[in-house]
Symmetry: C2
Subunit: 354 residues, 2 copies
């Protein structure tokens, strides 16, 4: 269904609006009936937690692909109301982020700034204006920290818009915590999964579930029932040491045996800046990381398709790479990507994924 | 005046609260009667603009210095209500950011997360907990994008707190735009002025006036009447080419002759990511930057204490260093600092400032 309407931008260029769900949507784990921008079908994959169920509808990592000859691009969108997190910009939480292909590379073009929280999720913004003539291939990242209920893309009245073919070579599912979810990137295109996708041409699908990725059997089943070329797990940022000891073997067995020919790559959790001065937290975290290293070394011996990537320095050592003592800021995600991407690619290469 | 009250943290440690205005306050351009956390006395330095007048009370770059043997530090603060900017975290806008001296270096310790916008500026948070015994030297950065009306620092009931001597060797005033003001650092300690201060041991005082730093005579007079060891100007990010042509010579004359033996360092403005695809903006910006280079080269010839630092790459060339097409994110400020600090230090060295 195409919904056309004519409006006028600040520059006086009339815009018509097209329902984004008629274009190509990527970055989803699966297609969810009646929810074009959801990542996971929570009616099929049941979770006990209301929070996890709600997160299934969030737009983290989801993008709309289209080609247009419009010189101006705007958007109208409606998100489910959501309080602004203290460690996030409204742009990353409820805004849009546009990239355009230029010389074979996806290049940042502009953001859709959300309205204030009090606007109840009704947003409208110009994203980029006064572009040169010719067709542009566009990838519009959705907000990472809310459910998107409606999205319309505005183009010049005399311009055309069409779905763009999915441009990635492989699909790699990344299950994880708030760090994978994207806190505290400054805009939706700067999560580490989105960055790795643009850097490699493979789609690192964002399955971040902030605060809730604790090796639960529901997540193991979701992974077991989801087809992809490879799987990455930021699985040790949320659970306690006791939860890891209790759940890890069962979790790994489920995912590793469900996809015996696909790589299952588990990464170590970061050292929080909270550890610097908080001695209790530092001891708690040290025990957790040591437990992870010990248990994952065993698991990686047990299953030929299970890999454990350890690291003690993914955020550097200057303590300037988080927004709040825990969540990487853009500097943190720069370092995070520098640390993990070469190691992940090395594993993928063994499986012909490159 | 000390205001004591006893409260209990989540860990069950009773806290007493001390009025932060009884401690050492730094990072201000001048001391403002009855406004301990204001940067500039707007009753003395008059501005036509209500926005500029309001910005004088903002906490950008202002910090509280103290020493304490408390194992836990919390805060209660009240800010003048302010809408959350789309490109800023609530933490950088209305939150607190604590650094503690460790092995001679200021190290990030934790943030004070502000309450939601609807809380009308009343905030309370734990900043760091469970620290080791012994005295800690602390620097608490204030919120960058609001006026702070009250601030109390919470310490353990049996602990002591005292003002700490100002630890910097020189005072360098940085007048500028939103980029200097701090948009879009992820927390108050990550503005480029705060980073340069910690990196050098010299205090780069934040006089950022978002959107409003346009070579006005009021700003020239403020600089002329303010004593410092050196002055840096991010003066070309806000004005139009016409305003620069109209106002630059008079502005430079006023500041350069008021402090004939002090270096006046003018830096070029960044290339916005908005230029990448917006052809009209790119042309507008190119003309502005070329005008700046031409006119500032003349000014630097005219006055022996005037310097112009030009650069075409302070934010890099991958277009991933802003939050919104204009304002540096933490990656942007990393690159900004890498570009400018060595050039600024080279000038300062000629004046024995090192």
């Amino acid at each position: 269904m195409l919904a056309f309407a004519v409006a006028v931008t600040a520059q006086g260029v009339a815009q018509k609006y097209v329902d984004a769900s008629t274009l190509t949507i990527g970055g989803r784990t699966q297609v969810v009936p009646d929810k074009p921008y959801a990542r996971v079908d929570a009616s099929k994959h049941k979770f006990d937690s209301k929070q996890i169920t709600a997160y299934c509808d969030y737009g983290a990592g989801v993008y709309v692909l289209f080609t247009t000859d419009s010189k101006n691009i705007s958007a109208k969108w409606k998100n489910a109301p959501r309080a602004t997190g203290a460690n996030m910009t409204p742009i990353v939480q409820r805004g849009l982020d546009l990239y355009i292909k230029s010389d074979g590379r996806w290049v940042f073009a502009g953001v859709g700034r959300p309205a204030r929280e009090s606007a109840n999720g009704v947003n409208k913004d110009k994203i980029v204006e006064n572009m040169a003539d010719g067709a542009k291939e566009c990838m519009l990242y959705l907000p990472i920290w809310c459910a998107i209920e409606q999205l319309e893309i505005g183009i010049d009245e005399n311009a055309s818009i069409a779905p763009l073919d999915w441009p990635f070579s492989h699909k790699i599912i990344v299950l994880g915590s708030s760090i994978t979810h994207g806190a505290s990137a400054s805009r939706p295109g700067l999560t580490y999964t989105a960055r790795m996708s643009r850097m490699t041409g493979m789609d690192f699908v964002n399955l971040g579930f902030s605060g809730n990725c604790k090796l639960q059997p529901e997540f193991a089943r979701l992974i077991a029932e989801t087809e992809a070329d490879a799987y990455v797990f930021d699985a040790f940022s949320n659970p306690s040491t006791a939860e890891i000891k209790d759940r890890l073997a069962s979790f790994v067995r489920t995912v590793a045996t469900a996809h015996p020919d696909k790589p299952m790559i588990f990464i170590q959790t970061t050292i929080r800046d909270r550890s610097t001065f908080n001695t209790k937290w530092a001891a708690w975290e040290r025990e957790r990381r040591e437990t992870v290293t010990r248990l994952m070394t065993e698991q990686a011996r047990r299953y030929k398709n299970v890999y454990f990537l350890d690291s003690d320095d993914m955020l550097g050592h200057d303590h300037e790479a988080t927004s709040d003592d825990t969540h990487p800021n853009d500097v943190g995600f720069d370092r995070f990507t520098d640390t993990w991407l070469p190691k992940i690619l090395k594993v993928l290469k063994k499986y012909g994924i490159k």
